[in-house]
């Protein structure tokens, strides 16, 4: 388990350990159920195609949650103060995605760091991009 990072342990330009994971349709359906987003676009290929989508897609909120989990694995639980993301492309299930981040700034007095975070496809396309403010120990 990650322990809270100290400011001296973090430098601008540091990269967070990337997390690679296979997003199964079952996991996406489980999120849709638990996240109050049970809708054809997130649960059923045929229903999603009727909405003009290529098949069922991953909820944006799930991408957001996965990015926070990636940051917490690095900085410790409860460390994320703010997160802003833009959904740029469809995150399709039954594929591998990569969760990445990098330190872009550090505020010694506030004991926080600023991050760029993103979720990319197996081909390296950034489908979700954002920034986060993270509290240090």
């Amino acid at each position: 388990m990650a322990v809270p990072l100290r400011p001296s342990e973090v430098q601008e330009g540091d990269e967070l350990p990337a997390r690679e994971l296979f997003l199964s349709k079952e996991q996406v359906r489980a999120y849709a159920r638990a996240g109050g987003q049970w809708s054809p676009r997130f649960t059923d290929d045929e229903g999603a195609r009727k909405e003009g989508l290529p098949g069922m897609i991953t909820p944006g909120n799930m991408s957001l949650g996965l990015l926070v989990a990636m940051v917490e694995a690095w900085a410790g639980p409860g460390s994320v103060r703010r997160l802003g993301v833009t959904f740029r492309g469809l995150v399709l299930p039954d594929r591998t995605v990569r969760l990445c981040g990098a330190v872009t700034g550090k505020d010694e007095r506030a004991r926080t760091v600023e991050l760029d975070v993103w979720l990319e496809s197996d081909e390296g396309e950034r489908l979700v991009i954002g920034t986060a403010t993270v509290a240090l120990a």
């Binding site: 996240g35 957001l64 802003g84």
Partner: protein
């Protein structure tokens, strides 16, 4: 097409909904669906708290105010992004108080024409008045 927006609707609360009480099983299912393994997120008991993004599952019963400009086709759109400030974690038994305001409306013109962005701010607190999250939900419409 330029937006015919009544500026007085910006910042005005248009929905107030209270949900809950939150059950431990809901918190655990949400965290497990994200692959969480930390005990505080998945093991029922006194230490259990919700995953930090648990509040995103809530929104007002009325998603949009009634007086948006007619040029915005609210039936068609998609989630363009979110900005979240995180407060205290959700705990079992919490009530979730959600207040919705129209935060911002703006237009962008791209190669395919005008796009309208509607930002709804959800301010969420628990029964103790503690801030759980402030979520700016950005939706794009053609």
């Amino acid at each position: 097409m330029p937006l015919d927006l009544d500026p007085s609707i910006i910042g005005r609360e248009f929905d107030h909904t209270v949900y809950g009480p939150v059950e431990a099983e809901e918190l655990v299912a949400f965290s497990r669906a994200l692959g969480a393994t930390r005990p505080e997120y998945i093991e029922p008991g006194a230490e259990l708290v919700g995953h930090p993004t648990f509040p995103v599952r809530y929104k007002g019963r009325k998603f949009y105010p009634e007086n948006l400009p007619a040029t915005i086709d609210v039936r068609r759109g998609f989630d363009a992004g979110k900005d979240i400030q995180l407060g205290v974690p959700v705990r079992p038994g919490d009530m979730i108080d959600v207040r919705s305001t129209l935060h911002e409306v703006y237009e962008k013109t791209g190669r395919t024409g005008s796009m309208y962005f509607v930002v709804i701010r959800f301010t969420m607190t628990n029964q103790r008045g503690e801030m759980l999250a402030v979520i700016d939900n950005r939706f794009m419409h053609r």
